[in-house]
């Protein structure tokens, strides 16, 4: 019942905050959002699941399964539970929400209670996405995430907020439609009468295909795989389906950007892992080379785009495209370090990109500009913010002992040992991302933070308030902890991805050779 309590408390908090007066909404929301943080951390400590949620031979933590509705022959259940993949993401969502809410105190000054209520509503739906194990329930949460985000961008966003909000909503929604059709076609082709994800996954692995519309099981799976892949790739986002992201980020208010980069993007990779890569490893391995090429393209092309930007938020937005490319590379590598690293990188990138956006937000709060050319030497005026910014930027560049390095290293280790053709070459190419990322972040830092102080803005640059500093410092500490003691949650991740890798090995026609020895 813990998950239901978590969801209930969050939804109830959203309701309470919406009814609260603006004056206290921010603090009330931050306070109430601590409840899910405490809850999720408690769950993290108590976590006793093992194995993968979708595949056989594991047990879920905090599982609930009750019959909900029956539609025709199909039984829909309320099925939620947590395994090693979702547990870190749940904690990430709750922690990041609290910090994002705190970081909103300064910039958000109108319709505050609605803003914070939407943030909490989004948190609830994100928690739903990461815990739901019935496709129907999952899909409701998946789609519902869009609604608060749409309003957060559309109401509190920058000058082109309407364009960005509509682009975000329509783009991702069309993608969801494609994914939905693909998955439904697959389910109707299967010999099942349930929408339960574990049951479906196991049915696919067992090859229980009934009617397949005369396509043949393999063709159906391939079509479904790509429909879903495209659907999720938009959310990740993968080049060339990424163009909604920079617009959404630039227009969104900082706290929404934090959630967007920190958690929303992970929905895409989470779903890729859960659906495509867990359910249909055979197809994924068959098309490993094009998928890896797409991942490398995302990494390099995203980083190159970041290099050309002047807006700090745009820089971070494009570098998210780049970093999420690593995740896809890790997934397609299909070995313990690859898939585990991809999952680790989801959390690591969530923390670091959230931190980067918060730092940019803190600067924007006082400077009211984010343009690289407009600011110079502000480390002089806001030393603590600058220090955290530098640390965050180095975290983003993959500095050892910070979370990003661990994630990227695991993915590289996985990618280099992967089985598909030219895996080493692809990995080496993708790794060049670490040079480009250093290039654009160092250039941006040099111009914004260092040099003689100058600011082309009508506002005074003043040090950040305590309530702006505490979240970024706290997040930085989390990044360092995750980088120095990755075992804190990498153990449960490995436990959960092992069945995926093993299933891939047995699904693959060729023997997973490198994986057989030590990878």
């Amino acid at each position: 019942m813990m998950i239901e309590a978590l969801l209930g408390v969050t939804l109830l908090s959203a309701l309470v905050v919406m009814l609260a007066p603006d004056r206290i909404a921010g603090k009330l929301a931050a306070g109430l959002s601590l409840l899910p943080v405490v809850g999720s951390v408690w769950m993290f400590v108590q976590f006793d699941g093992s194995g993968n949620a979708l595949l056989e031979g594991g047990s879920l933590a905090f599982e609930t399964m009750t019959h909900w509705i029956t539609i025709g022959p199909y039984t829909l259940n309320w099925h939620v539970g947590i395994d090693g993949i979702s547990m870190p993401l749940v904690v990430l969502s709750t922690v990041l929400t609290t910090l994002a809410i705190t970081s909103a105190w300064t910039p958000i000054d109108e319709r505050q209670s609605q803003f914070y209520a939407l943030m909490l509503l989004m948190e609830a739906s994100l928690l739903g996405v990461f815990t739901a194990l019935d496709f129907f329930v999952w899909f409701v949460f998946w789609e519902f995430v869009l609604v608060p985000m749409y309003f957060l961008i559309g109401i509190w966003g920058g000058p082109r907020r309407k364009y960005a909000a509509i682009k975000f909503f329509v783009y991702t929604n069309v993608a969801s439609l494609l994914m939905f059709i693909g998955f439904m076609a697959l389910v109707f082709g299967l010999d099942v009468t349930t929408m339960d994800m574990p049951a479906i996954a196991q049915a696919i692995h067992a090859g229980q295909f009934g009617t397949t519309y005369g396509l043949g099981a393999e063709t159906l799976k391939t079509v479904a795989f790509f429909a879903m892949f495209i659907g999720f790739a938009v959310k990740v986002p993968t080049v060339p389906l990424h163009t909604w992201l920079p617009d959404a980020h630039v227009q969104a208010p900082t706290p929404a950007s934090v959630m967007l980069a920190g958690v929303l993007l992970k929905m895409g990779t989470y779903a890729l892992l859960r659906f495509n890569f867990t359910m249909m490893p055979g197809i994924a391995q068959q098309y490993a080379v094009p998928i890896a090429a797409l991942a490398v393209l995302s990494v390099i092309y995203g980083a190159m785009l970041a290099l050309a930007q002047r807006d700090l938020k745009r820089i971070v937005a494009y570098s998210s495209v780049s970093s999420m490319g690593y995740v896809i590379l890790g997934l397609v590598a299909y070995n313990y370090y690859g898939v585990g690293g991809a999952t680790f990188q989801m959390v690591a990138h969530g923390l670091i990109s959230g931190l980067m956006f918060m730092c940019v937000g803190v600067i924007y709060n006082t400077a009211h500009t984010r343009m690289v050319g407009d600011l110079s030497g502000i480390a002089d005026k806001m030393p603590v913010t600058a220090a955290v910014f530098i640390a965050a930027a180095f975290g983003y560049m993959g500095l050892p002992l910070m979370a990003g390095f661990a994630g990227e290293l695991f993915i590289f280790l996985g990618g280099f040992g992967a089985d598909f053709a030219h895996a080493q070459l692809f990995t080496a190419l993708a790794m060049f991302g670490i040079v480009i990322v250093a290039g654009y972040l160092l250039f941006a830092m040099q111009r914004v933070l260092f040099g003689p102080f100058a600011a082309e803005t009508d506002y005074d640059i003043v040090p950040a308030a305590l309530h702006d500093t505490v979240p970024i410092v706290a997040l930085l500490l989390l990044v360092i902890v995750a980088g120095t003691v990755p075992n804190v949650f990498y153990g449960m991740i490995q436990d959960a991805v092992t069945p995926v890798v093993d299933a891939a090995a047995s699904a693959s026609a060729v023997v997973v050779s490198t994986g057989g020895v030590f990878l």
Binding site: K167, V170, Y171, V239, P240, T243, W244, Y301, M304, L305, L307, A308, Q309, N335, Y336, Y337, G340, G377, D380, V384, I390, F394, L399, P400, F405, A406, L409, F410, F412, L413, F416, G417, Q424, T427, A428, M431, F432, I434, V435, A438, G439, L442, F443, M445, Q446, L449, F450, G451, P452, T484, P486, N487, Y490, Q494, V501, S513, T514, V517, F518, L519
Partner: protein
């Protein structure tokens, strides 16, 4: 006596504690921080020094250590990643060097930073602490991954310290360049680390204990198996299949990849360009970076995994060539520089070139020896330069100096000691080590390897230039008459500057005595202490890290053969060249008002003064190639990719806009449409239903 080795983690952790103290106290309680953090730093590095010396003594009694102390990533299904300590003679020597130099740099900073009234001292000392921590942890690393991680952290610290004066334009730019250029090298290094894991499944340097593997040893086994002895480890064989290369080819690729990081950090051609710019940092930081930490890290890494490199003749040849070329190349640039620290910067590049030359030509001990002597005399020279810079009120131009000899005798004599060492004049430290490198290069080169001979020739030629620029620097700075008002009346320096200078001055003069190869050859005395020190024990796992083993590898795998040449003639030649260079500098520049002779070189001087336009092409690569490419990608992204997205939406918007015109609000039109629709339906039904 195992006690000392259990305290090894304390060696890096003490400076880390001083980093934390300086950082936290500097922010929360600056008043409580004595001397802006200098005291905790000095105490911590002194502690590290004491433990290092203790460890050194322990190691000298034949007790080594290699063990994991922290499992960073436990992976039940794959290889785990861990941190561990490895202290053998090489590491013990390096620990003493690093902690001693760090300690002296901290003391010197009291004079250079505190007494000069610099702001942001806690930031400075925090940076120094973190720098020392990273370097010491790098030195004790027992596997390649840990080495890489701290290698990167060293890069971060250099960024923070070079950019210490962040309010000016130059330092942040230099810091960025330092990190970016070394990051470019580290990119290859990281691929190398990953490749080592993928190939061998371990990145340990040495295998101790049951079932442990070390990658140099596995590489040796694999190559031996190719030669028909023993069997190749199964996963190595498998991975070679995957990459489709022979063992020798693939290991060479891996070796070159790791070498990328070395070339970046040790400022070898073509990634040396960051180092002269790094002079923007405070002078004590330059001393730390160039003498004992960052730049030394690269060479130390090659020495650390020499068991791997010694198997690969191609890579060794490349190391030797790069080293020899860099030694000569950097020395020529040092000849024309006007600023004291610039001369020293190019001398650093050049000297590390010698070490690479030594490693590449099989002179493992010679290179380690030069690493040792160079650490002391280069730290000395930088600190001496710092002392001069204090005296000159932060004017670094040598043409404004002159005559400082009488005003600051302590600085002069210690600086002279360092300069003699740098130039390689007998019996100062640099002579013995540089000479041994050249000697090794010569004997292995003459043993049927023209590439090594070419590298030797470059190294030998560089000796002349080294002598010249060193004494040009000394003469211009200290001799003659004062050429500016500040040189007339220099600012005095205190004990905290003089003490490190004296310590290092004595060391620079004497440390070469630990390995006087020519004398040993001549007299037959066993006074090559460093040879004994690095030879390695027999019969334990650590023998794989000893020179005896490396020598065996060089001969049986890399095909190195030493020609039988007595050490005297080569030593005399290089000494003569050094003296020649020094003498020429003396001739040209002594006297009360020296002229700028290098101006007469014309175009050659312009080329040298502009560093062979190496910076220009690298800046061009960044700004002229990468940036336009990025802009092009951006235009493409906005225009084509986002253009398609927007085009899709405009098609819907456009067609919607057109179709909605039907709904014009006039009820009669709606009624007309209704009626027409009804009629049309009737007609359709009529036709299909067969009413007509």
């Amino acid at each position: 006596m195992a006690g000392a080795l259990e305290f090894i983690p304390a060696i890096p952790l003490l400076p880390f504690a001083s980093f934390l103290v300086a950082l936290l106290a500097g922010y929360f309680a600056p008043k409580l921080l004595p001397k802006g953090g200098a005291i905790p730093g000095i105490v911590a590095t002194a502690g590290s020094l004491v433990v290092s010396v203790w460890a050194f003594v322990t190691v000298s009694q034949g007790e080594y250590i290699a063990e994991s102390i922290y499992t960073w990533v436990a992976a039940p299904n794959a290889f785990s990643l861990h941190f561990g300590v490895l202290v053998d003679p090489l590491a013990a020597m390096m620990l003493v060097i690093v902690s001693l130099v760090a300690f002296l740099v901290h003391v010197f900073s009291l004079g250079y930073m505190n007494d000069e009234g610099e702001g942001g001292l806690h930031r400075y000392y925090a940076g120094l602490g973190l720098f020392t921590f990273s370097m010491l942890a790098f030195v004790v690393a027992d596997n390649l991954l840990m080495a890489f991680m701290f290698f990167e952290l060293v890069g971060l610290c250099s960024y923070l310290l070079i950019g210490f004066h962040f309010r000016q334009q130059g330092p942040p730019s230099a810091a960025k360049k330092a990190f970016l250029v070394t990051r470019f090298g580290d990119y290859f290094f990281l691929i190398g680390v990953v490749a080592v894991f993928a190939t061998f499944g371990t990145a340990r340097f040495v295998a101790t204990g049951e079932g442990a593997h070390a990658f140099p040893h596995m590489a040796e086994q694999a190559l031996a198996a190719v030669g028909g002895e023993g069997t190749m480890p199964a996963h190595v064989a498998h991975f070679l299949d995957v990459v489709g290369m022979s063992a020798q080819q693939w290991f060479s690729v891996v070796g070159l990849l790791v070498l990328g990081g070395v070339i970046g950090k040790s400022a070898q051609f073509p990634l040396h360009t960051w180092l002269p710019d790094a002079m923007e940092g405070p002078t004590p930081v330059s001393a730390l970076i160039h003498a004992a930490t960052m730049v030394a890290a690269g060479v130390y890494l090659v020495a650390r995994m020499y068991g791997f490199y010694a198997l690969l003749p191609t890579v060794l040849a490349i190391i030797a060539l790069v080293g020899g070329f860099t030694a000569l190349f950097a020395a020529t640039m040092g000849v024309v520089k006007d600023e004291l620290k610039q001369v020293l910067a190019y001398s650093t590049i050049s000297q590390y070139g010698y070490m690479m030359l030594g490693l590449g030509t099989g002179g493992y001990i010679a290179a380690s020896f030069h690493l040792l002597t160079h650490a002391f005399f280069k730290a000395l020279l930088f600190l001496g330069a710092g002392s001069v810079i204090i005296a000159m009120h932060h004017n670094e131009n040598m043409w404004d100096m002159g005559g400082l000899r009488k005003k600051m005798p302590v600085t002069y004599y210690t600086f002279l000691s360092g300069s003699l060492a740098l130039a390689g004049i007998v019996p100062f430290a640099g002579f013995w080590s540089k000479d041994e490198i050249l000697y090794e290069a010569l004997i292995y080169g003459a043993g049927d390897s023209p590439i090594l001979l070419a590298a030797y020739a470059m190294g030998l030629l560089a000796v002349f230039f080294t002598g010249f620029y060193t004494f040009r620097m000394v003469v211009l700075t200290f001799h003659g008459e004062p050429r500016s008002d500040t040189a007339e009346d220099p600012h005095g320096v205190r004990w905290n500057v003089k003490f490190p200078l004296v310590v290092l001055g004595v060391l620079a003069a004497t440390v070469g005595l630990v390995n006087m190869t020519p004398v040993a050859e001549a007299t037959g005395l066993h006074i090559e202490f460093l040879h004994t020190w690095l030879a390695g024990p027999e019969g334990t796992a650590f023998s794989a890290l000893g020179y005896e083993h490396y020598h065996h590898l060089l001969e049986s795998f890399a095909g190195y053969h030493a020609a039988d040449i007595a050490p005297f003639v080569p030593a005399a030649v290089s000494l003569a060249l050094a003296l020649g260079g020094a003498g020429l500098a003396w001739l040209l520049y002594s006297g009360p008002a020296p002229t700028k002779h290098t101006e007469k070189l014309g175009a050659a001087r312009t080329l040298l003064y502009n560093n062979y336009y190496q910076d220009e092409y690298q800046v061009w690569l960044a700004k002229g190639v990468t940036l336009p490419l990025a802009r092009g990608a951006d235009t493409f992204d906005q225009g084509v990719i986002d253009g398609i997205v927007n085009a899709v939406s405009s098609i819907s918007l456009f067609s919607g806009g057109r179709i909605r015109r039907i709904q014009d609000g006039i009820v009669s039109h709606y009624a007309t449409m209704l009626t027409l629709g009804l009629v049309a339906l009737l007609v359709v039904f009529g036709v299909t239903g067969g009413w007509f």
